[in-house]
Symmetry: C2
Subunit: 219 residues, 2 copies
C-alpha cells in the first residue's frame, strides 16, 4: 500500500511534493494495546493506517474513558500530528485496538507540503471536518440518547467491525468506550440477555438478535 | 470592517482572489433571536461576525438544547457554509444571541477560491481545528464535570462576555446552554445563593463572588 492510496488527490500534487512526502514516510507497527500518542504535546506525526485498528479517546482525571472515534484501514490520523496545526489543542489518547501497521509522515514535512499545496490543504480540511462531524454526533448521542440505545448501537457496530456475532470484549472495556461505569454496562447487558437480544458468557457476548439491536439503536 | 480583518493571510491571496471574495461579500443583519441557519442542508454561506454574538447549538428530537460554541466579533462561522465541505454533516442550529451585523460570502465563491489557494485552505484548516477543539472540550465537560462546576463555569463566562456581574438570563435559557432541565438549574442556583455565590431575583442573577465561582469551575 503506497501513499497514493491514502490521498485521493495524489495526482494533483507536484512531482517534488509527492517525492517529499514519499521519502519522509516510514513504516511503524504497533501491537494491540500500544499507545501511539498521548495528550496534546507530543508530535508522533501523521499516522496512515495500512492495517489494523486504532481508537481515539479522552480520559478523565480519575481514569475514566470515552471513545471519540476509531480509525481503520486507509484512515488518516491528524490527531497524532496535531502539533502541526494552530488551533488544535486537546488531550486525546490514541491506542491500537488490534495489531496495526501504519505509515508515518513527520508532522513538519506534512505541514511544509500542505502550506504550499492547495489540494493537500483542502483534503486535510475534509478529514478534520469528518472528525468534527463524528465528535458532534457523539455529543448528540451522549446528551439525547438513553444508555440502552447507545449500548445497542455499540454492540451492532462491534459486530459489523468484527464481522461476526460473537464479541470477545469485557464489560469494563465497553464501559470505557461509552464513558459509563462497568456496573451500568453489566446491568443493561443482563437486561438485553433477558430480552433474548444477546447471550452472555465469560469474556464474550453473543449477539442473538442483531435486527432488534439495530432497531433499538435507531429509536 | 473589511475582509482583511477576518483573514490574517489576506495579503497572501492574489489580487484576483481578494477581488473575488470582496465582490461577493454582502452585509446582513440579524436581530436577537433570529435563526441564521438550521440543520445540515441549508447553505447560508460563510458568515463573518462584524458585531454581535451568535450561538451554535444542537437539539434533541423533543426540543432540548445544548450550546456547542459561540461566535463573537471577528469570528468566522464555517458551519453556515458546511455544504461546501465534504465530510461535514451535522444538524446544528445557529441563532443570534444579540443583534448581529455580519458579512456573508457565498459558499460556492469561498470554496472556489479555497480550492486554488493554499493560504486560504490552511487558514480554514485552523478554524475547523479550533471548532474541533471546542467540541472535544465540551465532551470532556459533559462527561467528567459535575453540574455545579459546569454551571459555575457558565456563569463566570457569561459575566466575562457581558462585562458585568448582573446577568439577565432565565433558568430555562441556562438549561438550554448546558443541556439540562430548568429544574436542575434552579436547584443548583438556589444552592449557589445559599452559599453566597450569587443573588437571585426575577429574571436576573447577580454574581456576588466571581472568584469562588471560578475556583469551583476549575476544580
Amino acid at each position: 500500500m503506497d501513499l497514493s492510496e491514502f490521498f485521493p488527490m495524489w495526482n494533483k500534487l507536484t512531482d517534488t511534493e509527492r517525492k517529499t512526502l514519499a521519502d519522509s514516510a516510514y513504516c511503524r507497527t504497533f501491537s494491540k494495546g500500544d499507545t501511539l500518542h498521548r495528550g496534546g504535546t507530543e508530535c508522533t506525526g501523521l499516522v496512515l493506517v495500512k492495517s489494523g485498528q486504532l481508537r481515539a479517546y479522552t480520559t478523565s482525571q480519575d481514569g475514566k474513558e470515552i471513545t471519540l472515534y476509531r480509525l481503520f484501514e486507509r484512515d488518516m490520523c491528524l490527531l497524532s500530528a496535531s502539533c502541526m496545526m494552530k488551533g488544535i489543542q486537546f488531550s486525546v489518547t490514541l491506542t491500537a485496538e488490534k495489531d496495526t501497521e501504519a505509515l508515518v509522515i513527520p508532522a513538519e514535512i506534512y505541514k511544509s507540503v500542505m502550506k504550499e499545496s492547495a489540494p493537500l490543504a483542502n483534503f486535510t480540511n475534509e478529514v478534520i471536518a469528518s472528525r468534527l462531524t463524528e465528535t458532534m454526533w457523539l455529543i448528540e448521542q451522549i446528551m439525547w440518547k438513553s444508555f440502552d440505545r447507545r449500548l445497542a448501537a455499540f454492540l451492532a457496530e462491534e459486530s459489523a467491525i468484527e464481522n461476526g456475532n460473537v464479541l470477545k470484549i469485557t464489560h469494563e472495556i465497553i464501559g470505557n468506550h461509552l464513558g459509563s461505569p462497568r456496573e451500568v454496562v453489566t446491568r443493561m447487558l443482563k437486561y438485553f440477555a433477558d430480552e433474548g437480544l444477546v447471550r452472555l458468557s465469560r469474556g464474550t457476548i453473543e449477539i442473538l438478535d442483531e435486527e432488534a439491536l439495530r432497531t433499538l439503536a435507531d429509536k
